[in-house]
Amino acid sequence: MNRLAAALAPLILAAGAFSAQAQDPHAGHAMPPPPRTQPATPVPDPHAGHQTPPPVAAQDPHAGHVMPPASPPPVTDSHAGHRMPAQPATVDPHAGHDMSTMAPARADPHAGHDMSTMSMGPPDVPTSADNPGRPPEDPLPAAALGGPVHAADLVFGADAMAASRRALVRENGDVRVTAVILDRLEAGFGDDEETWLWDVQGWSGGDINRFWWKSEGEGGLDDGLEETELQALYSRALTPFWDVQAGVRQDVRPDGEDTTHLVLGLQGLAPYWWEVDAAAFLSTDGDLTARVEAEYDQRITQRLILQPRLEMDLSASDIPELEIGSGLSSVEAGLRLRYEFRKEFAPYVGVEWSRSFGDTADYIEARGGEPEDTRFVVGLKAWF
């Protein structure tokens, strides 16, 4: 059970990240106090009785007093939005307004009461954000619902319009894209033999549903390919920043230990621009493992970018044939400095430190390997 929890931890972490995102991305930010107050009930029109032009009832232009910043400093009077028409002075439009606290330096800007040329700024028409109860919108007048469904059908015929109407839908929102992203294509130089790896992914589809594939492979310059992994996933956008992904993963190893896994993962963007890819894998042998990757781009200049990258591998059980022990099996931490000749083409240099833990480390040590390794890397990040 603990192992299962360990394997699922990355998923839970990631899920936490995205639910936090769904709630309050500012948690923990110290921002200026105090709490914002909201009128609980619609503010009564303080101009009742005035001869203001009658916009729709609930639209007191003064609600909330959010007066726009008059861009030249407000030299005129601050009755923005009163929209008092140039009525011959029948009623004193200021009756009832307590203006005693107005800056005394101001001459009476209302002399003559001709307010027709006042331009004090727009009224603050309340919206849903001002109405926590969200009063329903005014109903549609019945006549607005009259036919025909499509006016142009009357002129050109429904048949002639049908194809262009489909094209209109396609051309206004239904954008399909295919991307290929070469995250890391690199060579590593450490104490022992020189290694190389690729880490590539790509997707095809619209904004919500995508086919997503990922491939990783690594090997030594002398020993050749060590292992290859290929994932084929269905990816669905769940929240603005997160996709849930499900599918299969096939591992190919020269030593014959090929395995197939079911994959369930989350990929997206965590607050503070961390790109996160977290997935759990259930193999056909019943082994449950998980992997979390996170990377961040620190722009030093517009083109020179330092990228910290973290990867954690976890397992719910010992898998001796793969030299994996239960619990946290390994951690990789890298720092890569790339130069974007174009956004799509960025060679890099960097260092990567990796360490195996627990039984995983024991397996490696047992065959004479080092559980900890630091290597210098040179590679290319590219996409198209």
């Binding site: 910043p69 549609l140 619902l145 002129v155 904004d207």
Partner: protein
Amino acid sequence: MSTPRLDRRMLLRGAVGGGGLLGLQGLLPAWAQTGSPGLRADLPTLTGPNIDLTVGHSAFTVGGRTGHAVTMNGVLPAPLLRLREGQNVRLSVTNNLDEDTSIHWHGLLVPFQMDGVPGISFPGIKARETFVYEFPIKQSGTFWYHSHSNLQEAMGHYGPIVIDPAGPDPIGYDREHVLVLSDWSFMHPHEILAKLKKSPGYFNQQRTTLSGLLSGEDRMSLEERRMWGGMRMDPRDVLDVNGSTYTYLINGHGPEENWTGLFRPGERVRLRIINASAMSIFNIRIPGLPMTVVQADGENVRPVEVDEFQISVAETYDVIVQPTGDRAWTIVSEAIDRSGMGRATLAPRPGMTAEVPPLREVPNLTMRDMGMDHGGMGGMDHGAMAGMDHGVPAADAAPTHDMAGMNMRDPGNAPPDMAVGVGVDMVSMDPANRLGERPIGLTDVDHRVLVYTDLVSLQPNKDQRPPSRTMEIHLTGNMERFMWGFDGRKFSELVEPIRFERDERVRVTLVNDTMMAHPIHLHGHFFELVTGGPAGHQPLKHTVNVAPGSKVTFDLTADAPGDWAFHCHMLMHMHAGMFNVVTVRPMDGAPS
């Protein structure tokens, strides 16, 4: 009543008067050629009751490089259409492309079936077919026309329209020039969109950096950066596509080609400025020369003298300038993220130039652009306001704000029918009406800047009934996935149209739940911006720029029966889903 018909005549009559000129000039209509004396009756513009236009492929050269353009009558911009109020016009449009095309007459009040939006107004113009548009001209002013098919507009398919009033023009001027502003990329617009889908910050070469933090050049503290990072928003995302790929054109000329319009010192020169860009908002200024704004979106306004104004995509402004002296003046159209500029010259003689000012600093977005009504109240003193007893509790008059505990994406701040899903990365929690505020990047310039509340219609509004109904429409998006929509839905999700009863008067409030500006355009109608200005003189617009995180209210008399497009005029936003159909019923002849 017109129907599409096949017509294979080659229709270049009077179109390419400048076609015989050399090189660069070859692709420009005469009025757009450099050294233009201005618009004159004897210039080869297209005029009269019958006008022929042919849409086709052309090579377009700017800055020494040649690319592929989609043009009308082989020129970029397209020929000037000069019409007169009260006339009828028949426009025969022949499609020489291998795909459908269309022309929308932007700002012209035409019967819906002549409005030129395939799938709404008509079926579109198929390859090698001709469609005849025919309608009466019921207005005057500066307008434009462009394709409404498949991003062709971003490839050069646009041109100006000038309609002379039937009677005397209330605007006095000695000479006029048309300035068509646009953005040209050698990258195909579909490629641009694909880049944005894969990497929304792709074109931004002005992001905040560590070196900018250390040197202070970014003008942003670590704390502010952390806040933006926490929101996963980029405070430098001012224009999605910008000068890193665009060459900004004025009348088809890049900055190097320097389009030049002539004047005699002392003349009142009317500049008819049209933003025909796909994705670019500009700040316009002529250093040293004040401009008097006399018309916006083809509707006359009370003259306002300014030194700079912002023109969003698809807007038009007419200004009067009075250049004096034997010197040249530089017209600057600076992209609002300061990633590039268009440049042209007004001069007494061809070949004269004036100093070209350098690009200014890229603006940083603020919390106000995130729909939070914080600070930045432009000197409005809440304390003093609270003293004015308007019958509202003082606490409400001076709302205070607290970031802790705020929810940037609270469905409670959205209308009940809005879909707060993947396509919505934020819901403005306190959208401010920013019509009276200087637009982004111009808040601190030390000269006069036009704000929307400066616009006052010259003529009284025709319909002064109070609105009988209100409507709230949210402009929504997901920056990270480059998704855009209304009320959380892309048009491709088969949304309900926005319905009006014919002749009803509705007060519509647009709430921008994104940190980008959206020029929202309604076809077939002009709406009145509710600016709080003189009663009965609300300015009429066909396109309004809704500032980031803000709200805009307009009054609409839905007097044009039929179906109409309603969309963001940022072409990539529209193509990504910020589009809907407006229906006005009943139709003519239907029982009401």
